[in-house]
């Protein structure tokens, strides 16, 4: 297959890469501000994003008549944002992990305050973009793709506003001139042609990188492209060690790895190890995870049973399960979730996928326990930005999971802000033009793509096989519980993949060319995660080290910042800007707690 000789050039004011919740929201906001906006996706608009599967806003929409409504505390997501902005801010700071941020006290407090202040407004505003009443019955009957009725109307709304779109266009690199990003180069799959998109401002909203793990329920295309592109262009990234795992992920053979939705049915379950013994209580007692009112009665739902809100407990579950499996008391890397005692009405009136999945697979959760194990859900770190979602490069903004945070509330808030400030920048910025050097570089990238297509197919260079090797490596050595020794071995294995397999990487057609680009990005992002995880010698929220099991607020109130340098990946630390709140004395005393 040959790539078209001619390189197409497109001009726009604001370019948005990625059409999930953050990208769409950024594109709409930039268009609202009166700029020409181009929204680009490497697959179909909105359809291949993780937002279209996300449950976060789905939690909003469960109708009030359902039996469990109100039965589970903290269930309704909007309730989380009740109270004064300051109260919400404090709650987010303390429990950061429960809504997907990094962890207490190491976030940018100004960004946290922005989300605390804006989320409710941004959610209500979705109605203006054609999303039907977010609380309506419309969403019932979508066991899995709960984001469809949110994302697709937003795509249509953006088009109606006169926004331009490009589908199946794989953005491969940012074009940098001095300290400014002036657009991107990419590959148009339909026309087999390289394209240079010149933009006064660029918003990266390409999502996270959970696909680098063997166990994940993120969609296929979530391969960390934005992180890799930003890194190659010289932008700073931060907190890449903070990967969120979800405990409630099916680990049955011949079943997709899918999460059990947050429901009354799930939280009534009982966790058991290979021997059929309960084990969570043991870890909870050891680590002080139980609340004062814990009943420890199996018949109670989990928040009563363990005396803590589920949002907080969720984080302890994956640690306990990972430890139990590591101790050799798991079954094929998983544990059992026993749901046999859960009455039908707790499942069947709910909008949840497990009943559909299991019925279709003839798997009866009423007869035998279900195997579950943690799986990678999302990346809390990402491209480092300020509170205006501007990166360390001029004209380059980042939103959503590609940016400095994660979760749907963060996506709509950071999307709106980045879209606005990118369009303000575009209003004032000089036009983006390719220089002679840039043209040569684009031509070189075209030849590299053609070389991938010309290379002889050998097993070692099969993009899908290399992806599998990366996923296995990351899950084995850079998974939920980490040690220095394992991280070092993981890095060695990644280096081997880079040196021995990437030189053989080949592409047969446009689809596998896209996969080849993804493979390159996945190797780079995997190294970022492993290197950062090795550097953070403490355990904090999403980052759990077995060799450093404690939170260390004396030495580690710091962010790990990562950037490209001549000598390879450069990691450094920066003190957290504790502008408004500091950790309480009790968390700092003596270094370790």
């Amino acid at each position: 297959m040959d790539i078209a000789k001619e390189i197409r050039t497109i001009q726009t004011d604001v370019l948005v890469i990625g059409s999930g919740m953050a990208g769409l929201r950024a594109a709409i906001e930039a268009r609202r501000s009166g700029q020409e906006v181009l929204l680009v996706d490497k697959s179909l608009l909105g359809r291949a994003s993780s937002s279209i599967y996300a449950g976060g806003l789905g939690l909003e929409i469960l109708p009030k008549h359902l039996p469990y409504h109100g039965a589970v505390k903290g269930k309704k997501f909007a309730d989380y944002f009740n109270g004064t902005i300051e109260e919400v801010f404090d709650k987010m700071l303390e429990e950061g992990v429960s809504i997907g941020w990094g962890y207490p006290y190491i976030d940018n407090q100004r960004i946290l305050m922005t989300v605390a202040a804006d989320y409710k407004l941004r959610q209500e505003e979705l109605r203006d973009f054609g999303v039907e009443d977010p609380y309506s019955q419309h969403f019932i009957g979508r066991p899995v793709s709960m984001g469809v009725p949110i994302i697709l109307p937003m795509v249509e709304h953006f088009k109606k506003m006169g926004g331009a779109t490009m589908e199946k266009t794989v953005v491969t690199d940012l074009i940098r001139q001095k300290d400014r990003v002036i657009g991107v180069i990419g590959f148009e799959m339909a026309d087999k042609r390289m394209v240079a998109i010149l933009a006064k401002a660029t918003v990266m909203a390409s999502g996270g990188c959970a696909q680098v793990y063997k166990r994940t329920y993120s969609p296929t295309r979530i391969t960390g492209d934005g992180y890799a592109m930003a890194y190659r262009a010289g932008a700073e990234l931060w907190e890449m060690e903070l990967v969120a795992f979800c405990n409630w992920t099916i680990a049955e053979p011949k079943c997709p790895q899918w999460w059990l939705p947050f429901s009354y049915g799930r939280v009534s379950g009982k966790l058991r190890n290979a021997l059929g013994e309960p084990f969570f209580e043991k870890y909870a007692k050891e680590n002080g995870w139980l609340g004062p009112k814990a009943t420890l009665n199996d018949e109670d739902v989990m928040d009563k049973r363990y005396g803590k809100p589920l949002t907080e407990l969720d984080h302890y579950f994956w640690i306990a399960v990972s430890k139990e499996v590591r101790e050799g008391r798991g079954v094929d890397g998983a544990v059992y979730l026993d749901l046999r005692h859960v009455p039908d009405e707790r499942w069947y009136y709910e909008n949840d996928g497990i009943t559909g999945l299991n019925e279709m697979r003839n798997f009866d959760w009423k007869k035998k326990p279900l195997k579950i194990a943690p799986a990678a859900e999302k990346q809390a770190g990402g491209i480092l930005t300020d509170e205006y979602f501007k990166s360390s490069l001029e004209g380059f903004y980042a939103a959503g999971e590609a940016g400095p945070g994660v979760s749907l509330p963060f996506c709509i808030v950071s999307g709106a802000c980045s879209g606005r400030y990118a369009s303000w920048y575009a209003r004032e910025a000089p036009p983006a033009e390719l220089g002679d050097e840039d043209r040569k570089w684009v031509e070189k990238r075209k030849l590299q793509a053609q070389a991938l297509l010309n290379r002889e197919p050998k097993e070692a260079g099969d993009p899908r096989r290399i992806k599998q090797a990366i996923k296995e490596t990351m899950w084995t050595y850079v998974g939920t519980l980490r040690t220095d020794e394992e991280l070092a071995r993981g890095l060695e294995a990644l280096e081997r993949i880079e040196k021995e397999r990437l030189p053989h990487l080949y592409a047969r057609d446009v689809r596998s060319l896209r996969e080849a680009y993804e493979v390159n990005n996945m190797v780079l992002v995997s190294k970022m995660i492993a290197e950062s995880a090795r550097m953070r010698t403490e355990s904090r929220g999403l980052h759990q080290r077995l060799d450093y099991p404690h939170e260390d607020n004396v030495n580690w109130l710091k962010n790990i910042v990562l950037e490209a340098s001549d000598g390879g990946m450069k990691l450094s630390t920066r003190p957290v800007n504790l502008i408004w709140r500091k950790p309480p004395e009790s968390r700092v005393k003596g270094g370790n707690i």
Partner: protein, 74 residues
């Protein structure tokens, strides 16, 4: 393990790739030589219905899937 029918009608398929694009788990893949989409791994299907929604020629056969009718009528 699956007890529902999940196939792509090779005669109806026009090779637009849309179903393979939206499939989140690579249950569907696209054969570039034949220019047809096919079910690569049925066990990976999440029953998310995105392929059914995007297929312009109703080539995707999914029978026995819960909620299927609900979604079509929405």
């Amino acid at each position: 393990m699956l007890d529902f029918k999940y196939e792509i009608d090779q005669d109806k398929c026009i090779g637009c790739e849309m179903c393979a694009e939206v499939c989140p788990t690579m249950a569907i893949d696209f054969d570039a030589e034949k220019e047809k989409a096919y079910v690569l791994d049925r066990d990976n299907c999440l029953v998310c219905h995105q392929c059914l929604e995007v297929c312009p020629v109703d080539a995707i056969i999914m029978e026995g899937g819960l909620w299927q009718e609900d979604i079509r009528t929405h």
